[in-house]
Symmetry: C2
Subunit: 219 residues, 2 copies
């Protein structure tokens, strides 16, 4: 029984990952349920990050006017307005003492560290953060965030929810529209989520991925 | 029925993501089966990347001597030698014409593009790649790779396979040991995979994640 379940799990995952594609045309009438959004956002929240710091924020854009404005600075890609959901992935440009305190407050709540342990951890994170030069901290933060994108895409696929990860956005315009500078954030990517339109011809196209012999090496 | 299946899927995903943790102590005697490794590596291969370019390579390290050597330049973390599997995530330092040809050869095979279409696509990718300055191309490539890390971690969790994503590695030493410079690669992270040891006290600790009200904003 266990073996059969495991095989089913493997098959279901690979089938889901083959089923998914970067959806270009969403059905504007189909909405993701609140329950499913809870699952998707929880998957994003649970994503791993280096030292657990989660140096990023997620902006869920539900205001149709803001969506329209963002579409104009996203090369007019229709997913921005037509998909049921839109999440902006923004990395922290810094990791401030206030960020460290947020993290440690949660750590203390969950694991009951003593004040001395918390003070030690604070110093250790401060030292780690100070070790980055110039924009390297932002870049490191952004990389961590892409783990959450991967976790979201996998989760959505398993739930038969379509997604389109998009980097074709004008970051400075996103900063202006969403007040990202004052939030200490920089937008790197968007994931739109919903259900594919029957008219999206891309849905039937074969997936292009490098063959194993190019992508993997065994040493 | 459909609703029940969907609920089960959602519950199973969130349960799996809560079950997983950055495993510090692996059971050195438990090995991942070849079938399960096929699933894990296929999930990595199927990961989304910008324009589908997959500007990275995965090195599966099976040679115990190489593992020992890598552990020495990974702050002596025991996961490197004790976990059943070790995959090095290396991003392309460039994206050469040869890389573009590999990608387009696969595209042509899968979607039957004409030679003219392929020539157009080649020009368009060349132009995109030329738009990056200095190390920005490497950084972009690396970010794409972290999507694959996220997809791998989610997949492993669903299969009840433990994983530890690790950035605590000395990249120049990895380059030397694995000849990464001549391969046009730079190592950013390692994921070790296997099964947690009963002795890993961390397994029972509460997971620390920022609360929704800090991590998400609705606009």
């Amino acid at each position: 029984m266990e073996t059969e379940t495991e095989m089913n799990t493997a098959t279901r995952i690979i089938d889901a990952l083959n089923w998914r594609y970067a959806t270009k045309k969403f059905d504007p009438n189909r909405k993701i349920s609140a329950e499913d959004m809870d699952t998707l956002t929880e998957a994003v929240r649970l994503a791993a990050s280096s030292m657990g710091l989660q140096p990023y924020r997620f902006l869920r854009i539900t205001d149709p006017d803001v969506r329209k404005e963002l579409r104009e600075v996203s090369f007019d890609q229709p997913q921005i307005t037509d998909a049921s959901e839109m999440i902006v992935f923004a990395a922290k440009t810094d990791y401030t003492d206030a960020d460290i305190d947020d993290f440690l407050e949660e750590s203390q709540k969950r694991r009951g560290f003593t004040d001395d342990q918390i003070a030690d951890r604070k110093k250790s994170i401060q030292k780690h953060v100070a070790g980055f030069k110039g924009e390297d901290l932002l870049r490191w933060n952004a990389r961590q965030m892409y783990i959450a994108i991967g976790q979201l895409l996998t989760t959505a696929a398993l739930m038969k929810i379509d997604a389109c990860p998009m980097e074709g956005i004008k970051a400075p315009e996103y900063a202006r529209i969403l007040n990202l500078d004052e939030k200490g954030l920089k937008a790197f990517a968007v994931v739109t989520l919903g259900y594919r339109s029957d008219e999206d011809g891309l849905a039937d196209q074969a997936k292009i991925r490098l063959p194993r012999e190019i992508l993997f090496e065994e040493i």
